[in-house]
C-alpha cells in the first residue's frame, strides 16, 4: 500500500450549541451528545472539536475532543474524567450551551478495499468508531468485515457493551482482567488477529503505551500504521505551536502540530521516544 497523504479539508468555525444529553458510560467515562449547528462542516473520522469547559474564569484552555459520531442534527463525544476541566464537562445537562471550534485537524485515510485493523483504548475509541459508522454505511465505503475494531479496557465495565451499536461480527474486545473477550491487552489481541486473518493497515488511538506497542507490532509485521495523538493545545488552529511533537522529515527531525498537522500521523514518521506520555 502506498503512503496516504493526510490532509485536513473541512473549514472550521466557532459555534455555540446545546447539549442534547449527557450520559454516564461508566465510573470515569461519559457520552456528550450536542446539537450539530448548521454551518458545522462535515467532519471526517479523526477530526476533533475544541471545547471550552463552561465555567468562565476557572479554565483558560479549550479541550480537544475527538468526534465519536455525527449525523445531520447531532454530534457525540466520548469523554473521560481526567482533571477539573473534564469534571466540569461531566456536570453539563441537556439544554446547556457549549462553545466550541471545529471541526479541526486531519483524519484517518479512507482506504476502501484495504483490510484495516483498528486498535483503540479509552477515549481513543472515538475516531475509530466514527470511521466505521461513516465509511461502512456509504456506497464505496470500506465494506463491513474489512474493518475490524479492537477495543481494550481494564475491565468489562469500561467497554460500554450495551451503549453502542458494536456490530459484534467485526468488533473484538480485550480486558486486562479477562472479564470480557480476550484476556490481555488490545495490542496482544491485534497480534493474534494479524496471525489469524491478516491485515493491510493498522489504525490506533489511545493511551501512549498502547500506541507504542501497536507501532512495534506494525513494524514487526511490515504493516503501515496510522496513529492519532492527543496533546494539550492552545489555539487548535496550527498557529501557536504549543502542541508540537517531533517528526522525521527525511534526514532531519522537525516539530509538527498535533492540532493541525495531525492528530493523525504516519507512525513511521514519529520520533516515539520524544512523544508526550499520557
Amino acid at each position: 500500500m502506498s503512503r496516504q497523504l493526510l490532509v485536513n479539508t473541512a473549514r472550521p468555525g466557532r459555534f455555540t450549541a446545546a447539549v442534547v444529553k449527557n450520559v454516564d458510560l461508566s465510573r470515569r467515562y461519559f457520552l456528550l451528545v450536542l446539537e450539530r449547528p448548521s454551518g458545522f462542516a462535515e467532519p471526517e473520522p479523526g477530526m476533533f472539536i475544541h471545547l471550552l469547559p463552561p465555567a468562565p474564569g476557572r479554565f483558560f484552555l479549550r479541550r480537544p475532543l475527538s468526534i465519536l459520531d455525527s449525523d445531520d442534527s447531532t454530534m457525540s463525544l466520548i469523554v473521560v474524567e481526567k482533571g477539573a476541566g473534564t469534571q466540569c464537562l461531566r456536570r453539563v445537562a441537556a439544554g446547556d450551551k457549549l462553545d466550541f471550534i471545529g471541526p479541526l485537524g486531519n483524519s484517518f485515510p479512507h482506504l476502501p478495499g484495504e483490510r484495516i485493523l483498528a486498535v483503540g483504548g479509552g477515549v481513543g475509541l472515538a475516531p475509530l468508531f466514527y470511521y466505521r459508522s461513516k465509511w461502512s454505511s456509504k456506497p464505496g465505503g470500506t465494506a463491513s468485515g474489512e474493518y475490524r475494531l479492537l477495543y481494550g479496557a481494564r475491565t468489562q465495565d469500561d467497554l460500554f457493551l450495551d451503549r453502542f451499536d458494536w456490530r459484534p461480527d467485526d468488533a473484538l474486545f480485550a480486558t486486562d482482567d479477562g472479564s470480557h473477550g480476550f484476556g490481555g491487552n488490545v495490542v496482544e489481541l491485534a497480534a493474534r488477529e494479524i496471525e489469524r486473518a491478516g491485515a493491510d493497515v493498522l489504525f490506533s488511538c489511545g493511551p501512549s503505551p498502547m500506541l507504542e506497542a501497536a507501532a512495534k507490532l506494525a513494524r514487526a509485521k511490515g504493516i503501515p500504521h496510522y496513529v492519532s495523538l492527543e496533546n494539550r493545545m492552545g489555539c487548535g488552529m496550527g498557529a501557536c505551536r504549543s502542541c508540537v511533537v517531533l517528526v522525521r522529515d527525511g534526514e532531519i527531525e522537525i516539530y509538527k502540530t498535533v492540532c493541525n498537522d495531525g492528530p493523525v500521523f504516519d507512525a513511521d514518521d514519529l520520533v516515539w521516544d520524544k512523544l508526550p506520555k499520557g
Partner: protein, 299 residues
C-alpha cells in the same frame, strides 16, 4: 438615520493603519492559520510570529501550561526563518489584503541589520516590531532587551534601513524601570513602543520537583497579566511622546478601553483569541461606534 461610519484610523510614525486593533505576535502564527475564524482585513493588521535570520526549531515540549487566568508558554521562537518568511508567508498575506507588521528578533546587531536590509528590499508590509523581550530564548539575548544602550542602537539600525515603515519596539515588563528602555527606543528613532511582552513565570511538576518546562521559566500571558500591562503602558506613556501600543491580557472591549485611558493609541489582542477569536472584530466595532474611547484619560 444611520450615522456615517466614524474614522478610527491611527498614525504610527509615517504609516496610517485603518483601525487601532491588531493581532499580537505569536498567537496568530503567520496570519493564514486563523483565517477561517478571523477576518484580519478589517483590523489594523497582524503582527506575525517573530522571525529570525535562520530558522529556529523552538523549545522541546511541553510548551504550554494552563492557568485559571491564562497560560504559561515556552515556545522558544520556533520560526521558519527570514528567507521562507519572505518567499512564502508574506506574499500570502498580501493576497488577503491584510496589513502586516513583521516581528523580528536577533541576538546581535549585525543580524538585525541583515534582516532589516532584506525587509527594506521586500514589499507587502507596513511596519516592523523589534522583539527585544521574548523570555523564552537565551538569557543573554533577553538581557540585551533590558539594556537601554543596546535597545537604542538596534532601533537606530533598523529605522535607518526602514525610514518609511512604522518601527515598533516591543519591550519586556521584566525590568526595574520600563520607562528607561522606552526612552532609549525613542532616542533610537522608534515610531512606537509595544508593551508588554509576556511576564516571566515558572511552574513546577509536583511529582518530579523539576520545573514544568525544559527551559525552566516560561512567559505568562492571558487575562491575569492585564493590571501589570496597564501599569507598564501607563509608565511608558508618561516617559515617551511616540505612540504606545498596549498589549497584555485584553479579553473584552472594556479591557481594550483601559489601555487607551492609560495612554496607548492602539492595542494588540493575543492569548484571548484562543477563547474568543471574534474579540478583535468586536473591539473594532465598539470603537467605531465610540471613537471617543480612543482618548487618553482621565475624561
Amino acid at each position: 438615520m444611520r450615522m456615517a461610519k466614524s474614522d478610527i484610523s491611527i498614525r504610527i510614525g509615517p504609516v496610517v493603519f485603518q483601525t487601532p486593533v491588531f493581532l499580537a505576535s505569536g498567537i496568530c502564527g503567520y496570519g493564514e492559520e486563523y483565517s477561517p475564524l478571523i477576518d484580519a482585513g478589517k483590523l489594523g493588521g497582524i503582527v506575525t510570529k517573530t522571525i529570525t535570520l535562520r530558522p529556529r526549531m523552538g523549545n522541546p515540549p511541553p510548551r504550554i501550561r494552563e492557568l485559571p487566568t491564562g497560560a504559561l508558554n515556552s515556545i522558544g521562537l520556533e520560526n521558519v526563518g527570514l528567507d521562507v518568511y519572505l518567499e512564502d508567508k508574506l506574499p500570502r498575506l498580501a493576497k488577503r489584503n491584510v496589513d502586516v507588521i513583521v516581528s523580528i528578533a536577533a541576538e546581535r546587531a549585525a543580524e538585525f541589520d541583515e534582516i532589516a536590509r532584506a525587509l527594506a528590499g521586500a514589499g507587502g508590509f507596513k511596519g516592523v516590531e523589534l522583539n527585544l523581550s521574548c523570555p523564552n530564548i537565551d538569557e543573554e539575548a533577553l538581557d540585551h532587551g533590558r539594556d537601554p544602550a543596546f535597545v537604542e542602537k538596534i532601533t537606530r539600525i533598523v529605522k535607518d534601513r526602514l525610514p518609511d515603515r512604522a518601527v515598533l519596539v516591543k519591550i519586556t515588563p521584566n525590568v526595574t524601570d520600563i520607562g528607561e528602555v522606552a526612552k532609549a527606543a525613542e532616542a533610537g528613532g522608534a515610531d512606537g513602543i509595544s508593551a508588554i511582552n509576556t511576564v516571566v513565570g515558572i511552574d513546577f511538576d509536583l511529582d518530579t520537583g523539576k520545573p514544568f518546562f525544559y527551559k525552566g521559566s516560561g512567559g505568562y500571558s492571558g487575562p491575569g497579566v492585564l493590571p501589570i500591562a496597564l501599569q507598564k503602558v501607563w509608565e511608558v506613556a508618561k516617559a515617551v511622546s511616540i505612540s504606545v501600543v498596549g498589549i497584555g491580557g485584553i479579553s473584552s472591549v472594556d479591557d481594550a478601553r483601559k489601555f487607551f485611558i492609560a495612554g496607548a493609541s492602539a492595542v494588540q489582542v493575543g492569548t484571548s483569541l484562543w477563547q474568543n477569536p471574534e474579540l478583535p472584530g468586536e473591539i473594532v466595532s465598539a470603537f467605531t461606534e465610540h471613537p471617543e474611547w480612543m482618548k487618553k484619560g482621565p475624561y
